[in-house]
């Protein structure tokens, strides 16, 4: 039951109204006034940002498994010089614990492909990414990212939710909580996979302790991306419409003496929304409406790039239609995890991702969408500069272990100043040394670009005003200044 003051939806409101007198009440009252998140009967109703935003939407190209920074965006000549040698003692690797036991003494491994400078800015990009290289002037490369996770499940979970343990809301859920949904007949937080299930599954796009409404929706392949989207086979629109009209009559009769209860009305309206979603969602995912030239731009005409390309194109169609937060996994199920044979692994993964991502940037730009759409690229961590040597493997089949101590992510569009690098790793690309940026900093900065202060997007849970950045987070102003 929800009247003017309802209970059950917003803990925050409830705490305020029930906290009674005293300091707690005052503190909460001011928090309420500040953040403007006073409850509404409709948790997805659009809410104004806390300050003028630079971006409206986010498309996150998530390279699951951990792409190698020293092979893609962070060239290290020192690796050439010290090739095959143990990591020098000056790097203090005695207590380094690696996920699969690769040892710093196993020898440093130079980049497996040459780097070249590109664009006006002269940013360095590996030969593996010829298409993304064309777009460097739009891209800000952060070379000094850090995560707390040594393994994938924890890493993917932290990159999405802020902590390595499952159970917290993902960033997309926080964004929906903070901004609501611009479009009500489509889910506002969408996740797409191109291969297996994301490690850890739903915990990565969960609403955690926020209401379930904010959970991400995993789009399924094909023309029915949402569960239960299609009416039962054979149902005609007229039949469906007539059913809903009858339902509305039943509900209106029931509500006749209950007009103070807005929840009953909200539920009646939710059927209308569901009905609209039935046509809006299939339209949104209908790629046949796109021209051949557009499809080609995303590499949909080639078998290597068609899977990821069609997801990237889908992402563009969704943000175009007001979907706020889209995650597009490349190699979902940890395909970037090159413990062995990195050359083969990255050749294939770069091939499948490079053209689609570049196509996405070009397409967004051409349509004037890039200025409002923040594109984020990165994995849950990077890879070690020293080799992981499989038993009996020849050097060309060496891999690299996980590296959460210093890895690369990049951002483009949505107010981001392109053509720059931010932060540095040490001479071998093992650890971030200048301007290290924890996952929380990345999250705080994404929220900032969307017009949200990560310290003021809070939700009262188990006695704590929880926020997206858990206990940390500092902005990376270089991204936009």
């Amino acid at each position: 039951m929800r009247v003017n003051h309802h209970w059950g939806v917003s803990n925050r409101r409830e705490f305020f109204t029930r906290a009674g007198s005293g300091l707690a009440g005052i503190a909460l009252a001011s928090m309420l006034a500040e953040d403007g998140f006073a409850a509404s009967a409709d948790p997805l109703a659009p809410k104004p940002p806390q300050f003028p935003p630079k971006a409206k939407n986010v498309i996150w190209c998530f390279m699951e498994g951990g792409p190698s920074q020293v092979d893609l965006f962070d060239p290290k000549p020192e690796l050439e010089r010290l090739a095959g040698q143990p990591v020098p003692p000056s790097f203090h690797t005695d207590n380094l614990i690696t996920a699969q036991g690769a040892r710093p003494s196993d020898g440093l491994l130079p980049a497996r492909r040459p780097f070249r400078q590109h664009g006006q800015s002269g940013l360095w990009v590996s030969e593996w990414l010829p298409n993304i290289a064309e777009m460097v002037d739009d891209i800000a490369v952060i070379r000094s990212c850090q995560s707390d996770a040594v393994n994938h499940v924890g890493g993917v979970c932290q990159m999405n939710t802020g902590t390595i343990l499952a159970g917290r809301p993902s960033l997309g859920a926080w964004v929906m909580y903070g901004l609501g949904s611009a479009r009500r007949d489509l889910p506002s937080f969408v996740v797409m996979q191109d291969d297996k299930e994301i490690l850890g599954g739903v915990q990565n796009y969960s609403s955690g302790f926020l209401p379930a409404t904010f959970q991400g929706t995993l789009f399924r392949q094909g023309d029915t991306p949402i569960l239960n989207l299609k009416p039962p086979v054979g149902t005609t629109d007229a039949q469906e419409r007539s059913k809903l009209d009858f339902l509305r009559q039943l509900n209106e009769r029931f509500s006749r003496d209950k007009e103070d209860d807005t929840e009953l009305d909200a539920r009646t309206r939710s059927y209308e929304l569901a009905y609209q979603m039935q046509s809006a969602a299939p339209e949104a995912v209908d790629l046949s409406q796109e021209s051949d030239a557009t499809k080609k731009l995303y590499g949909m005409d080639e078998p290597e790039t068609s899977a990821y390309g069609s997801n990237c194109l889908l992402a563009r169609r969704l943000v175009e239609r007001g979907v706020r937060f889209v995650e597009v996994y490349s190699g979902s199920g940890s395909r970037w995890d090159a413990h062995s044979d990195l050359i083969n692994n990255h050749t294939q993964n770069c091939r499948s991702m490079d053209k689609p991502v570049a196509g996405l940037l070009k397409d967004l730009k051409a349509r004037g969408l890039l200025k409002d759409t923040l594109v984020v690229w990165g994995g849950e961590f990077g890879r070690t500069p020293f080799a992981q040597i499989g038993a009996g493997a020849p050097p060309e089949r060496y891999g690299r272990d996980h590296n959460p101590w210093g890895f690369t992510m990049w951002m483009a569009g949505g107010g981001v100043k392109g053509g720059q690098t931010i932060g540095t790793t040490d001479e071998i690309g093992l650890r971030a040394v200048d301007e290290p940026h924890h996952v929380w900093d990345v999250h705080a900065s994404i929220l900032y670009l969307l017009g949200l202060d990560h310290l003021r997007v809070t939700y009262q849970h188990n006695g704590r005003a929880e926020r997206p950045t858990v206990t940390g987070g500092k902005l990376i102003p270089k991204l936009w200044t």
Partner: protein
């Protein structure tokens, strides 16, 4: 240490203050309502004593009187019966039950209903589910692998039975915290120890110290919130910012569990004579098969050795040492590490077929021969005992517990002993190792404190939970947070009265239910009252009953029930109703975990929702849609969302269509052929009442609209054919029958069905 100070942003001297032995609490903290002793308040006088059916009403009326507000009148009998039946059983009343109550004009008609509901086995299924929320119950480990916990369902059944048996709450708590120590050889008490077996677990984690610490943190946090209503978890890294919970207290509470770990295995037989018989049979079988089993063990020894060799490499050096050392020399922490590592380096006495594939050639053949020989003794072998999953102490000596600064294993502070909240009792807990049990006795001391009537929290917390489930909101609106950041009680005297009543009545939950159900405040209507709403829009003073949507399980179970499909069978392993197409993708279908298997027995599909398998990474979509509990931590109250995906589910899910077909079939088969009688019957089953003339007309118009469309679909190809009612009786126009499915579905989807008024 300098680093630590920098990290924590406090000066070292401030830090030392924190660590000081004695901590002084402010008078405000000591006098905070939740920490004050419970004193049974006098029942207040009210303006109109006749309006008070029992003391609960007096407490409510006194507050309303003070504001010159009137409570709502009693709800009509049908509304009341429906409200109480769903509340107590999670199912709607049957037409017979409704008729009986409507026709019963005796003065104790309502008491009879209350008695009947409390005696219904469905009560345990409904209220047990509430407790399972608090206990973060799940049938799987969580994390990537999310393996099945094959025997944890016994805990779910234990909870259901405990509610149905009206097990006194103090005993219920004792069994869940220290059943192994307090009631050894009682299989039920051991199953109850599953309460703390529900932590999320990454079984293939390489870092075992971290994994064990996460287990301890889970047990500490959940114990704090479930029984004490306090957010102990906040004190893991620093003294609680708002409540008088010191970091030290967090680790003092944790120390009760320092030697506690999983004890999965056979459950003892309850009857001593049977237990002895089993032991004798087992001994006899073991004696006769000694040589065969010894030879089998010798054959698999190389496999065992290689499993240890390959398994051991995955652990830290300390753990490897603990595994390889002489068991007698292990200290308690090393014993704990060995125990935690054990499942990954050993296998059963009788290994599974997959393991045995490693046994090649002659050895393999010989092993199979021996297996046959062993099978010859099956007739004298006692039937295997049922297996359980629960917690035990590993022995009488616990590893030390340290304060962990910032919650980090690397920042070890002072050692602490088991103890309670310093603000209530700063001394170390008195621990007496139990006689005849290989255990520390620590948790027995904790269980005694958690059920001590002098402890101001446990009784208050539980009566508030019960109130919360009856009314949708607790007297304290935050059932899991009785601290400063939680809500204050709207009726503190009532809370204390109920807590005292609870303890005085032997911690009986059913007696408390009866007191609540027979109060006028429970029976009042939910109608709007402008004057009262103006003065008290949130209904804090409880001038009306709060209308609310049924919870996830009640939605599904009520639909199954009305459709005549509900299988009332109780207990047993979790069941797997079908998933909507598209849910299972990639890993979840093929995981070693078992994913979501297809239910072999179709009747299991329609069991009550409390029996649906709870896979942490794949909550049953229909229940999740309607805000079922997140199983990763204790859930104090369900969210209440209104979303378009819920409506998509109710419109398009194949299961809903199936239920509507059965509902329609049930109506058409037992209401004769007049159209009005059919509509009437459908309304009676869904809403418990006849259709009004206005509704008869709405339904007639609707059926008339649908019939030509159905006619067209019936004439079309297979793809076009509409869903038909189950077992349509002869003589019914097929188009009308098909239209009736639509009508039935819309009744199930309507607010009058989904909301408790």
């Amino acid at each position: 240490m300098r680093y630590l100070s920098a990290l924590l942003g406090v000066s070292l001297s401030a830090w030392v203050l924190f660590a000081a032995e004695t901590h002084t609490f402010s008078p405000a903290q000591k006098n905070f309502w939740a920490f004050r002793p419970i004193a049974k308040p006098a029942v207040p006088a009210v303006k109109n004593p006749k309006a008070a059916a029992n003391p609960i009403d007096a407490f409510i009326l006194a507050r309303l009187d003070a504001k010159n507000l009137q409570p709502n009148a009693r709800a009509d009998k049908l509304t009341l019966l429906r409200r109480a039946t769903v509340d107590m059983t999670g199912l709607p009343p049957t037409p017979d039950e409704i008729q009986q109550f409507l026709n019963d004009h005796s003065s104790n008609a309502w008491d009879k209903v209350v008695d009947r509901l409390l005696a219904s086995p469905a009560y345990g299924e409904r209220w047990g589910r509430h407790w399972l929320d608090v206990a973060r119950y799940a049938d799987s480990n969580g994390f990537k692998a999310d393996e099945t916990r094959p025997n944890i369902w016994r805990y779910r059944d234990y909870v259901i039975k405990a509610f149905n048996d009206d097990k006194p709450y103090d005993r219920f708590v004792k069994e869940q915290i220290a059943g192994d120590e307090l009631y050894p050889n009682d299989p039920e008490a051991l199953v109850a120890m599953g309460f703390n077996r529900h932590w999320i677990d990454e079984t293939n984690a390489a870092a075992l110290y971290t994994r064990r610490q996460e287990t301890l943190d889970d047990m500490t946090t959940v114990t704090g919130v479930a029984f004490l209503g306090l957010t102990f978890g906040c004190a893991r890294c620093h003294d609680h910012k708002f409540d008088p919970i010191l970091t030290k207290d967090y680790y003092r509470l944790q120390a009760f569990f320092a030697n506690t770990s999983f004890g999965d295995g056979p459950l003892p037989l309850k009857d001593p004579a049977e237990r002895q018989k089993y032991q004798e049979q087992k001994a006899a079988w073991e004696e006769k098969t000694k040589d065969i089993r010894a030879e089998m063990a010798k054959l698999v020894q190389p496999l065992r050795a290689s499993k240890i060799e390959s398994g051991i490499k995955t652990f830290e050096a300390d753990v490897q040492q603990a595994i390889l050392m002489d068991p007698a020399q292990r200290n308690p922490m090393q014993a704990m590490m060995y125990h935690t590592a054990e499942p990954r380096i050993t296998f059963d006495e009788e290994p599974d077929a997959r393991t045995l594939r490693g046994l090649k050639g002659e050895n393999g053949k010989r092993y199979q021969e021996l297996k046959k020989q062993l099978a010859a003794f099956d007739s004298i072998r006692p039937a295997p005992l049922p297996e359980g999953q629960f917690m035990i102490d590993l022995g009488p000596n616990a590893p030390p517990t340290y304060i962990l600064h910032g919650g980090s294993l690397d920042a070890r502070g002072d050692e602490v002993q088991p103890g309670f909240l310093s603000i209530l009792d700063p001394a170390d807990a008195k621990i007496t190792p139990p006689a005849g049990v290989n255990s520390t006795g620590r948790r027995s001391a904790l269980a005694a404190w958690l059920t001590d009537p002098k402890n101001p929290l446990p009784a208050r917390v539980m009566v508030n939970r019960i109130w919360h489930y009856h009314f949708g909101r607790g007297i304290v609106a935050t059932p899991g947070d009785f601290g400063l950041m939680g809500a204050r009680p709207t009726h503190p005297e009532l809370l204390d009265y109920l807590a005292s009543y609870f303890v005085e009545n032997g911690w009986s939950m059913k007696k408390l239910h009866r007191l609540i159900l027979t109060s006028n405040v429970y029976q009042q209507s939910s109608a709007f009252n402008e004057v009262a709403a103006e003065a008290d829009p949130d209904d804090n003073l409880m001038w009306r009953y709060q209308r609310h949507r049924m919870e996830a399980e009640a939605v599904r179970d009520s639909m199954l029930d009305v459709s005549g499909l509900l299988n009332p069978k109780m207990g047993g392993p979790g069941v797997f109703p079908p998933l909507p197409p598209g849910v299972v993708t990639g890993l979840s279908a093929t995981a070693a975990a078992g994913g979501w298997r297809q239910e072999k027995d179709p009747s299991n599909i329609n069991r009550r929702s409390v029996y649906i398998f709870v896979r942490r990474n794949l909550r049953y979509p229909m229940l999740q849609e309607f805000d079922s509990a997140n199983t990763f931590e204790s859930c104090d109250f369900r969210k209440n969302t209104v979303t378009a995906p819920q409506s998509l589910d109710l419109l398009n899910n194949d299961l809903i269509i199936d239920w509507a077909q059965n509902f329609a079939g049930r109506v058409l088969n037992d209401s004769g052929l007049t159209p009005e009688a059919q509509v009437d019957r459908a309304f009676r089953l869904a809403y418990g009442r006849a259709a009004t003339p206005e509704e008869q007309k709405m339904a007639a118009d609707f059926l008339a609209r649908q019939m030509p469309m159905m006619q067209e679909r019936l004439a079309g190809g297979d793809q076009a054919k509409p869903p038909m009612p189950a077992n349509v009786p002869p003589g019914i126009n097929p188009a009308r029958a098909a239209a009736f499915v639509d009508l039935s579905q819309m009744l199930l989807d309507s607010n009058e069905f989904l909301y408790i008024n």
